[in-house]
Symmetry: C2
Subunit: 133 residues, 2 copies
């Protein structure tokens, strides 16, 4: 099992357009896509850099997971995503080592199979794992 790279960093914001004023306009990062993902109740902007990506997330509703997070914690870093070779082997290994998983089996994400590790089991960091397909 191995971690290949930081796939992306996700940042929760109140309004995508205002956040792009910093990340795109002031910092000069390229935006490859902005789209609504109704199944996750978010609108996302993708800003690739190096072999990773910054993803900005705006909740589509206050009741969504991201909407509740924003209300409770405010804008800021939400999670990091690590790309792995073999997500099933990684999850089995983590489970054997006592890590606290949100997803014990992978689910289908936008660009591969994904699973989340609980922040309680990762020193306060919500970690997503992705095996890209």
């Amino acid at each position: 099992m191995s971690i290949k790279k930081i796939d992306h960093i996700a940042i929760v914001v109140e309004e995508l357009e205002r956040a792009l004023g910093v990340y795109r306009d002031a910092l000069g990062m390229a935006v490859t896509d902005v789209r609504e993902m109704p199944e996750q109740d978010v609108k996302m902007a993708f800003l690739p850099t190096g072999d990773s990506e910054i993803e900005l997330l705006e909740p589509l509703s206050a009741e969504s997971g991201i909407g509740r997070y924003l209300a409770k914690r405010g804008e800021g870093l939400h999670h990091i995503c690590l790309e792995v070779d073999d997500i099933e082997a990684t999850l089995a290994d983590l489970k054997a080592k006592g890590a606290q998983l949100i997803d014990e089996t992978p689910k289908q994400g936008a660009y591969g199979r994904i699973a989340f590790i609980h922040p309680k089991g990762a020193h306060g960091v919500l970690i997503e794992l992705v095996e890209r397909t």
Copy 2:
């Protein structure tokens, strides 16, 4: 001006050794260095992956900036660092565009010249910029 990549993600933890139990032992990430940086009042572990790095920070004292952050916010994501070509041009550009800077001029960091953007000006994210030398 351009952002080259995510240089690193910094995570504040209570105890480096316990955090390495997750990041090194359970996730299988390599640790290239663990060292005390007394001038920043932290002990750090460096875990490179892809063209970025995860840095774990343990405060050396409760009164340090990181120590106070830990007491207030708990363990978790602390800042992201973006590598730039020309830190002076980037800071001038950010200032002209009204970004809130912690450092208006670069200071010497461990591996290049660095400056921080205030989280209030970056939608809740503490952003470090580095021009590696």
